[in-house]
Amino acid sequence: MINLDDPKKFRALAGQAHQVAMNMLRPISRKYDQAEHAYPKELDMLAAMIDGLSESGAAEGAGAAGVRREEDEREAGGVRNGSNLASVMSIAEMCWGDVGLLLSMPRQGLGNSAIASVANEEQAKRFEGVWAGMAITEPGTGSDSANIKTTAVKDGDAYVLNGEKIFVTAGDRCDAVVVWATLDRDLGRAAIKSFVVPKGTPGMRVERLEHKLGIRSSDTATIIFEDCRVPAENLLGSPEIDTKQGFAGAMATFDNTRPLVASMAVGCARASLDLTRDLLEQAGVVVDYDRPAHTQSAAAARLLQMEADWEGARLLMLQAAWMADNRKPNSLEASMAKAKAGRVGSDITLGCVELAGSVGYREGELLEKWARDSKILDIFEGTQQIQQLIVARRVLGLTSAELR
């Protein structure tokens, strides 16, 4: 039966996340925006609390690792509302609090999603509780991740990694990094494998931290690998180079992480919408849902348009997560959600600054911060343009050779 209201079983979880975001993240939001590379020590206690919630089962498997696709019991009627839905809902709430701080949450890195997506049972167990960052991008390679130059050469029972990775989210603070490297540059994307490299492995060093437009509380690192030996059992997935399977193995991660990034944009944008709606109401502008937009004030009409776009992004996000929960292929829907949420996130947070005027632009409110934070969400885990490319290829039935 068609029903697009929030799943009832996760409303309590989302409510908790909202309280945490309101009472833990918001009070320190501006502090760590200004103290860019300082470690938000408050998060350790929060992480411990979240671990406790996970163990008690109250978190419903939500979080970065909640994207693992497990066989599980189904709801009546065979439809499942599972950990993917729980994850996008709770992450959206946390990002309503602060995107940068969510990205700095111990043990909630995108590397954890990658491990959850492609690790075998033994690896999943071994890396449980590890805070993992994700290292894909290189100085010369961004969206064309098949073109990475970091190499992994088999040497006995280990792989030797060489190369430079940039834009590693939580790269300084995390316990380990999931690194993409190629086994053979001549074999293209099929030869790209991901490796879990624990911090402190000889030959790996954090070179520097970036200064950024937004999500400044999150550390973004450059990491250098020089003859870095990684145990062979840390290679995620199959070590074989299967040219037929191609990129699919490593790329499967993205089907799972893109709805999460969409949820970050949805959460951040709602922070802007909530506050702007309140500020406008205090200024005497109230949206009337029944009356045509063009018979209301321009500010009310703009708010209505932004809310409509926001709701669209949110439902696309829920759809992608619901499909993952029900083990339906969701590559198309994940990219749709990311594309819509990414652009809508920017439009809304920037639009809210404009509507609130100088109140929105000055640092006295957080609106200007959210307008800076949101931009990255239309870039990382696949830019707007990459999402459109994926959607276009799927809809048109074209290969990456035909539609480049």
Binding site: Y289, R291, G312, M336, K340, Q388, V391, V395, L403
Partner: protein
């Protein structure tokens, strides 16, 4: 109308009232008028045969509304009517239609593919829906979709979700024909939702095919639009005045579907400060109907309905007099328009997808170019967002939850992105999109209706 008054600029021929004519301009205009004298002659001719031939392709052509059948009064006046229960409230996020809904969608999709789409271009040209298409829709039982089983309909619970899926599937065939098909059922659904026992027993048998005399399902129309700039549907300028034994209605309703053949209207009017719905039979004295063809949805035979001292009995009031019924009607109608936008948007996507893969430029299919492919991607993304917003509003309506916010958001997105899809559909075909050989120009015209139209259809 005198020649000189018609030469005054402003309000005609797309001229703003700020325009003025100089002597040369006046002379040119007078010449133009003379040159068209044969047209005037034909208009004169038409006047004499107006009862015989009503054609909606020509605007400004007025006649009396048709004589309605005798809807004989049955049931207790003022007694509450039969109501279906809302759908069970669900706590599970789910995008799967029920088996019944899926079956209905399959049947309607076949109807849309086999009959509606092939008839669309001609119906658009003729401003009329072919009899065969309307008949086929009746055979599927569409007008009784929103009518409770107890009253001879097929509805076991609130049918807003099923109605939404049906409207979408029909509009995938053609929006104008979808409206022509759905208009009578919209009136039947309104009576089922808000009618008294007497209103239901008087009118609904005709819509469920159980009426006396085998006259068939009547055409009927939900008339809320008014020809006013910045029209706010919640503040109609059409008025209803209470008299000792009923109401007197005065006003003009625009873009009323199949108004010339309709036997029953649900008219929106202001009564004692609140907007209300009134049942008006077409035989009511004081009604005239005028052709009102528009940019799009032409197959719905749009008309203007004039009510001049139209007198209806006290039991013509449909639902509450405090404006709540009217507001719910407006929301359910907007929901139907959203569903129509989704269906037509899907038609555009289905059409441009193979086209851009076949059409070649610079030695390869244009789909291989990102500027083209990304337009298609954005159509797909925004269309799915429109669909999800529409379904969310529909499922809340069916479950008896508040849905004012959800339908407002759906309408906003469908109006904005639906029109963009219409524009891009034509653009992707280039010059070929601009000519009538392809349907994208029709969808472009139809999609402009979203966000403009009120009433007309509901789910």
């Amino acid at each position: 109308m005198s020649l000189t008054s018609s030469l005054r600029p402003g309000g005609r021929h797309g001229l703003s009232s700020k325009e003025s004519r100089d002597p040369i301009g006046l002379a040119v205009a007078a010449l133009n008028r003379l040159a068209q004298s044969d047209v005037l002659d034909r208009i004169g001719l038409r006047k004499q045969t107006e009862q015989a031939v009503f054609t909606v392709t020509r605007g400004g052509f007025a006649t009396a509304t048709r004589a309605s059948r005798a809807f004989s009064k049955r049931g207790r006046s003022g007694a509450p009517g039969e109501r279906v229960a809302p759908a069970p409230k669900s706590g599970v996020f789910d995008l799967t239609p029920t088996e019944d809904e899926q079956m209905l969608v399959d049947v309607v999709t076949e109807l849309a593919d086999e009959l509606v789409r092939p008839a669309a271009a001609e119906a658009d040209e003729a401003c009329a829906a072919p009899e065969a298409v309307l008949k086929a829709a009746l055979e599927v039982g569409l007008p009784s979709l929103g009518v409770p089983e107890a009253l001879g309909g097929i509805s076991e619970e609130r049918s807003a979700m099923a109605g939404t899926l049906v409207a979408e599937a029909l509009a995938r065939g053609d929006m104008g024909l979808a409206i022509a098909i759905l208009a009578p059922g919209s009136v039947a659904t309104a009576i089922a939702l808000w009618g008294s026992e007497q209103q239901q027993q008087t009118y609904l048998p005709a819509f469920t095919g159980d009426g006396p005399g085998g006259e068939g399902v009547p055409a009927a129309a939900l008339a809320l639009n008014e020809p006013t700039v910045l029209f706010d549907v919640l503040r109609p300028s059409t008025t209803a005045r209470r008299t000792d034994d009923g109401f007197v209605i005065d006003g003009v309703k625009g873009l009323v579907p199949r108004g010339a053949e309709a036997e029953l209207f649900v008219v929106g009017a202001e009564l004692e400060g609140n907007p209300v719905l009134l049942l008006v039979e077409s035989s009511t004295p004081g009604l005239t109907v005028e052709a009102d063809p528009a940019m799009g949805v032409r197959a719905a035979s749009m008309t203007t309905l004039r009510l001049e001292g139209a007198t209806v009995p006290a039991d013509a009031l449909l639902g509450a007099a405090d404006g709540t019924t009217y507001a719910e009607c407006v929301r359910l109608s907007r929901l139907a328009w959203c569903a129509l936008a989704v269906g037509t948007g899907q038609a555009v996507l289905d059409y441009v997808t193979p086209y851009v893969k076949e059409r070649e430029a610079f030695g390869e299919p244009i789909a291989h170019r990102q500027s083209v492919a990304f337009m298609v991607a954005n159509i797909a993304i925004e269309l799915q967002a429109m669909r999800l917003l529409t379904y969310k509003a529909a499922s809340r309506a069916a479950q008896g939850k508040e849905f004012a916010r959800e339908v407002a958001l759906a309408r906003k997105l469908c109006a904005d992105k639906g029109m963009q899809i219409g524009l891009d559909g034509v653009q992707l075909l280039g010059g070929h999109g601009f000519v009538k050989e392809h349907p994208v120009e029709r969808w472009y015209r139809d999609l402009r209706a979203i966000g403009v139209m009120e009433g007309t259809v509901l789910v």
